[in-house]
Amino acid sequence: MNDTLANTEKKTAYILTLPAVLLVFAIILFPIFANVWISFKEVELKDIRIPEPRAKKIVKSIAEESSKIKILYKLRNSSLIQEIRDVSFQDNFPKNFEIVNLDPRCDYKNYNLKCEFGNWPAKYRENFQVIFETNDGSKIDKKKLKSIKPKLDGKSDNVLLNTNFTLKNFKKVLFDNEFIDLLLTTFYYTFFGTVGSIIFGILTAQMVNQKFYGRTFMRSVLLFPYVAPVVALAYTWELLLDPNSGTLNSLLINYQIIETPINLLGQKYIEISVLGFDFKLRLALTTVIMFEIWRYFPLAFLFILARLQAIPKELYEAADVDGASPFQKFFKITLPQITAVISILFMIRFIWNFNKFEDVFLLTGGASGTRTLPINVYQQGFAISDIGMGSAVSIVIVVLLLMFMFFYFKLLGKRVDEN
């Protein structure tokens, strides 16, 4: 009895979870494997379309012979690069139609025209013509005739399914001159974006943790950048930073801080001299990182605030008795209490920033030194339309991420052991 109950429970569980598991498998796990497959292939965007045999039916009446009709099929191979094999053709006709000239490739039986056209090479075109006559001499309804659509069928190779593999894509990705630069850009973007958002998160969480009027309102305001659509925010920032009529540049010029407008999103480097040292700052990248920090510090804020509110009050009271200053309290009590949250946040944000595509794409499109790996996936796959290359870049992303996670957990595991 018990056994059957457990069995039914198992069965129910599988029935309940199966739809969700199948869907996630089909849309998330399967594509990851497919990515590996595609990355070893030479596939371009145009290869993806499956070649189809097509026919356009044109009905023409023949002058002075109302019982006869000419039907012209404009046949073609939709693909410019692939052949279609064993093309078959079928079309139906009204019950009083007799064929006048029968093509040797075709057969006419039971008012059904069947043809075998054999193989069509790429770009193949043919005008195929048939003439019919009504056996009872009645008038022909051209519209009705045209409304019957011919059926075509054929076999073709799917580039994606054959087993020609190559290492070319990975060679191209890894030995590209710009690969190191690409990695560095991605790393700068990810690292500074993550660290910046965590620092701002700590500051704001510490701030909202104080008592002041309008605290709950402040908390929702701080989350606005995180919940609003990225498209709207990116374009608003673009408008604010615009060199010609953007608010920021106008303000700076108005108060005579700068003389000529700075193109914050379109300039790769800016030369800055601090204390006599000249160095080049990657300007567009810095702006993009600023946007990223602005948009994602709310997540850090929320996590850290939740942790701060869980710190027992006694700790602070004890510190007060000992005469600790506010800064001592922050560094000696608060900070050690939130390190665990910070390390989790660092991992989550690092992974997500590493894969962030939309923000950079919308702000700069990857121009002026802001090309990160995810942007490269898009550019290779869709701008240069080399699907195989795009896939290879995304495999590189996955491998790098897995490496990061491996080292991160190893490091974290060690530290947990030490404590």
Partner: protein
Amino acid sequence: MIKLNLFYKSIIFSSLFVIFDGYLIQKLPVWYNVGTFLIIYFFVSKINKYNFINLKEEHSTQVILFDFLTLFGILFFSFVILFPFYMMLVTSFKTQIALLVNPLDFSINFAQGLKELFNSYFVIFKSYNFGKYIITSTIVSVGTVIITLLFAIPAAYAVARLNFFGKTFLSTSILIIYMFPAIVLVIPLYTIFSQLGLRNSIEGLLIVYTATTLPVAIYMLQGYFKSIPKELEEAAILDRLSWFGIITKIIIPLSIPAISSVALYVFMIAWNEFLFSLMFLDNPNSFTLSRAIQYLSGDAETPRQYLMAGSVIVTLPVLFIFVYFEKYLVSGLTAGSVKG
């Protein structure tokens, strides 16, 4: 004498000071007055704290500095966050000429009449078909919510309550899948969808959005389902209720708050989603709002006030939902539910 609380007292005192000050020195900019107001407000509102005994203490300077930094932080962050949103709104109400003549005009000109004021909105609805995009976005987002809940509630129930082989594997893989980058899925999904003819279709978007939000939804729901007392279900099992009955008659009615917060989240994720809509939609007939705005910006000649009007339209529903249901949503956010 009327008893006022300290908040009002400090506001009255500091405004009086600023009015006097502004009267005496009239040439200074508004910012100066705002700043003075806030500094005075800050000290007056803390007047109880800054008494003689406290000030004698060892760290009184640091305490004041800390308090002041808090006030400064509140101002700074409110400005930094709200200013872009404000500019988005202001720009959408302006004309092309007004934008070019004075980029530093931060006011909305209400005197120009409603028709002029909302001109950009009329234009994007009339000539750029935004009505249609709103409908598409709504269908996609609401559809995603419904399908996700249909799939997630049973699965979450099974993970929370039933014992079966592979349960722990399932619940850990939910989290791992949730961390997985969308950019890695784009190319294979694009190729598969083009071959199946699912590109440029709402169905295609619905499938992808559902699959990407499912792990989050299951994770959030199973956490809540675990908190429902088991005795209720045990009684139901004795009454020979099937699992379908248990879910519809016990679990769902009891977890309406959790389900609605998951629904709101999934709605927001689907509404804000950009990457997949960029990849899968290239026919303007099936654009979502985000994709439509991006498409609009692709034309360099599109006036920016139209772009901002579109941005306001896509932002408003999300912010409205967020502010209105904030209590439900913040707890979910901490559960790490919105991927970004």
